[in-house]
């Protein structure tokens, strides 16, 4: 052990106090989730995480008393990492541009939804199948993997993530979205939407009809005929 080591490391704060503070902060971050209010949860979770990390770094890692060169080593790494991240993130954040669509990303979105049955792989549905699809007896969860295209099943497994199972615009994904997903049960929604607008929104994304870009383009997964069936299904939700 060198002399420098001795003189920079005589500092030992009351570790028990810091430990108790850390545990209390942990409890606060968990309790925050019960508020059900998004911004409180976020502040509780991430604000508290930053405070906890600072407490650990300063007192347990002794950064508070460490020579400045160590802070530069850590700080420069952090800044370079952020710089690299900022440089590449714009390309990753988008899944489509004027001349391109990232189908892999759209497929990943589709995979993120439970009981997804790859509607694109099914043969284009016949009129008889679409009539069968309208029958309310078929439930989404019970549909077999190789089932033919069924607009209701597709809606309940894919669209419902944001638009809600009943199309009320209140799916689990809706909380994080602004503007909110369309509510198909609301008569006001239908005042200015023709079928062709809706088909375009489904196949080319919300941005193609001047709506939210959070609505993905499903054109690589749904055929034109399937998009038409989806629109027909949306009409059945009206005023429910």
């Amino acid at each position: 052990m060198s002399e420098q080591d001795r003189d920079t490391h005589q500092h030992h704060p009351d570790y028990t106090k810091i430990y108790v503070a850390l545990v209390i902060l942990l409890i606060i971050s968990v309790v925050g989730t019960f508020s059900g209010i998004l911004w409180i949860t976020f502040i509780m979770a991430f604000g508290v995480a930053v405070v906890k990390a600072t407490l650990v770094a300063e007192n347990f890692m002794h950064l508070k008393w460490e020579k400045v060169v160590a802070k530069w080593v850590l700080g420069i790494s952090l800044v370079l990492m952020l710089l690299f991240f900022a440089g590449v993130s714009p390309d990753i954040m988008k899944d489509r541009g004027l001349q391109w669509v990232n189908n892999a990303d759209l497929a990943a979105t589709a995979r993120g939804i439970p009981d997804e049955e790859e509607p694109g792989k099914g043969a284009p549905a016949s009129a008889a199948e679409s009539a069968k699809a309208a029958a309310p007896t078929q439930t989404a969860a019970a549909a077999p993997a190789a089932a033919p295209f069924n607009p209701e099943t597709t809606f309940k497994t894919v669209c419902a993530a944001c638009h809600g199972p009943e199309g009320e615009g209140n799916g689990p994904g809706a909380a994080a979205l602004n503007p909110k997903p369309a509510n198909f049960t609301d008569p006001a929604f239908w005042t200015d939407k023709t079928d062709s607008i809706l088909e375009k929104a489904i196949r080319q994304g919300g941005a193609s009809v001047g709506k939210s870009s959070a609505m993905p383009a499903w054109g690589s997964i749904l055929t034109e005929a399937q998009a038409k069936q989806m629109v027909a299904y949306l009409h059945t939700l009206k005023g429910k």
Partner: protein, 190 residues
């Protein structure tokens, strides 16, 4: 045992061993920082991940956070003891930290087993891919830490290389900090 000259020589005012640990932590900042930020970016772009994330067990995550915080506390108590020259006491604290690491891995194995049995594998979708990658890389660091801590503690008990108690502690606290951020990202911000 003869102490190698490199552990005392220093141009920065920081003992070389400790400086090396800071460099290690700096490289870990790049690895985990990039991974966690990528997760945040994809999570914002994929609101439907909320469906998958609803299946993570908040209390299991919170318990493991508590375990790691406690293990960090014992590691720093070990450091304090080592600086007073009490190698035996330092070793005792380090063994407690090692026990915390083992408990963490045990809880994580049970948690993952139940999730995998429910069908949430690394290939299920983007959320689970990030979940297993980020938490898995972190778990590997916990395992590596536990192994290194064992050897440092064994030496410390014999009064040897007491400065290493602090060095291994710095690494361990960093692993704790990573989890402090992983916990809200994977378990709370649903």
């Amino acid at each position: 045992m003869q102490t190698p000259i490199a552990t005392t020589r220093s141009a920065t005012g920081i003992p070389t061993g400790r400086l090396a640990i800071w460099w290690l932590v700096a490289s870990e900042i790049v690895i985990f920082g990039g991974l966690l930020l990528s997760y945040v970016m994809h999570r914002i772009g994929h609101p439907e991940w909320a469906i998958a994330q609803a299946h993570t067990h908040t209390f299991v995550g919170a318990f493991n956070t508590f375990v790691l915080l406690t293990a960090s506390f014992t590691a720093v108590k070990g450091h304090e003891a080592a600086e007073k020259g009490d190698g035996k006491r330092a070793a005792k604290f380090l063994y407690l930290t090692m026990g915390g690491a083992c408990l963490f891995i045990l809880v994580k194995s049970l948690e993952w087993t139940s999730e995998i049995l429910e069908g949430f594998t690394i290939q299920a979708n983007g959320f689970w891919a990030f979940y297993y990658t980020a938490a898995g890389l972190h778990a590997l660091h916990v395992i590596a830490g536990a192994i290194v801590i064992f050897f440092v503690a064994r030496d410390a008990a014999k009064g040897r290389n007491l400065q290493r108690v602090e060095y291994v502690g710095i690494y361990w606290h960093f692993v704790d900090i990573i989890w402090i951020f992983l916990f809200p990202l994977l378990y709370i911000a649903k």
